[in-house]
């Protein structure tokens, strides 16, 4: 079956790839672009570890038809650090022991970034709501919630 040409912005950089019909964005990012930061957990929308921002909005890349991002901006965890400097959310996750095995971390960070980008000073309840589509099997969530609140109160989270 013919492949389709697809162009979009990946972490601020223009990329062009050829996709098979029906390819999801997670596969396109990992296998065609080589960005391994969004993870495959379930492929069903249930775990959230594949979360990315599309035009600034949180989406599940495993449930996104790759072709629907044509001409749009896709941001992954790979794009949030500034050179060798960690993003304030990444630093807060490290400081608050918010990652154990780390498998959920890319999705948690993107969900947290989506929240702080539009609400820099969220309440605890808002943080819980923001990460409610993301499953963590290790931390028990409390360190993650604390990390997001710490990044927010650091006032640097909009970076």
């Amino acid at each position: 079956m013919a492949k389709t040409a697809l162009q979009f912005q990946h972490n601020g950089r223009d990329v062009a790839i050829f996709v098979d019909g029906g390819t999801n964005l997670l596969v396109a990012l990992r296998e065609l672009i080589g960005d391994m930061t969004p993870k495959f957990g379930c492929g069903q929308g249930g775990c959230g570890t594949c979360s990315v921002l599309i035009d600034g909005e949180l989406h599940l890349s495993c449930l996104t038809l790759a072709e629907t991002v044509a001409g749009r901006s896709v941001e992954t965890l790979d794009g949030i650090k500034d050179g060798p400097n960690l993003h304030p959310l990444q630093r807060a996750f490290a400081d608050n022991f918010a990652a154990q095995c780390g498998y959920c971390t890319p999705g948690m960070l993107m969900a947290a970034k989506a929240l702080l980008d539009r609400n820099p000073q969220p309440s605890r309840a808002e943080v819980i709501e923001a990460i409610s589509g993301n499953i963590c099997r290790c931390t028990g969530y409390e360190p993650i919630i604390n990390a997001v609140l710490a990044a927010a109160s650091g006032g640097r989270a909009r970076a």
Binding site: G22, L60, T68, S132, G133
Partner: protein, 272 residues
């Protein structure tokens, strides 16, 4: 297996493509279609999309509200004029699912999903569909009863009258995982009042049958009555009539039958 993706700029062509190919599936937000493709569902060989702006339009300024089928739950939550629909919209998925999932896709979502459709059923919504031969409007009740036969039509929009007061529309989703989780059951009620009497009561239930259904026996107990303790008790007792819930991982059919009256009582008496 690769599928063919067909994107159309107008809804007529998209509807024609859908109606002429039994293995074509419309892609709304994709939260259910992409799941099926990821699982290797070979019954889908073509994915149809429509980029027509009408599909994502919201008209909430007047007394009659129209939501394009492609409107997402996040968009509803961002509309101040649609405050009465924020509870059903917020009850769906996590934030990413609300950014992606659409009102049109929810009409087709199987149990334990379809929460927004329960709200639409209580509001007596009308579904605008476009088939291969033309467009028509169909009541949501009839649409849901014939849902199996609606594959191949394109849903364009859904419209309904704004409830007369904030108290007239009520919604409750019972889930084990909060804030995210599939429904054990979902309830919505529209209780228009004339003087102190209810006229045109609508009660809709989710996960009590293969599609959302109206609790007609409970509706009859409310008709022409004031919403007092005895009326509420009669409605609660009648809630289970005509339901055919199933067992799933979230609850058994028995449990659903046991609790539906309890939650209808709470919904009608305004309890948390």
């Amino acid at each position: 297996m690769p599928v063919t993706v067909k994107t159309f700029t107008n809804t007529h062509d998209a509807a024609a493509a859908l109606s002429s190919d039994r293995s074509a599936r419309y892609l709304g937000g994709g939260t259910l279609v992409m799941r099926a493709l990821n699982e290797g569902d070979i019954s889908i060989s073509t994915v149809v999309r429509a980029s027509d702006h009408a599909m994502t339009r919201i008209d909430a300024s007047g007394s009659r509200i129209t939501l394009g089928a492609g409107v997402t739950f996040a968009r509803i939550l961002a509309e101040r004029d649609l405050g009465f629909l924020h509870a059903p919209a917020r009850s769906i998925g996590g934030p990413a699912v609300r950014n992606m999932g659409t009102v049109g896709g929810n009409l087709f979502a199987p149990v334990p999903y379809g929460d927004f459709t329960v709200a639409m059923l209580a509001l007596d919504a009308v579904v605008s569909v476009q088939g291969g031969l033309g467009g028509r409007e169909i009541s949501i009740d009839e649409f849901l009863q014939t849902r199996d036969r609606q594959t191949g039509v394109l849903v364009l929009a859904i419209s309904f009258a704004r409830p007369g007061s904030t108290d007239a529309f009520r919604y409750r989703k019972i889930a084990r995982i909060k804030p995210k989780g599939g429904a054990v059951i979902t309830l919505a009620a529209h209780l228009p009042v004339n003087g102190s009497r209810i006229v045109g009561a609508r009660i809709a239930l989710g996960s009590m049958a293969p599609t959302p259904i109206r609790a007609r026996a409970a509706e009859r107990t409310l008709e022409g009555r004031a919403l007092d303790a005895s009326t509420i008790s009669a409605a609660a007792a009648a809630a289970v009539e005509g339901t055919t819930p199933g067992d799933n991982a979230l609850a058994s059919a028995w449990y659903r039958r046991e609790i539906v009256g309890v939650h209808l009582r709470r919904l009608l008496s305004g309890q948390e």
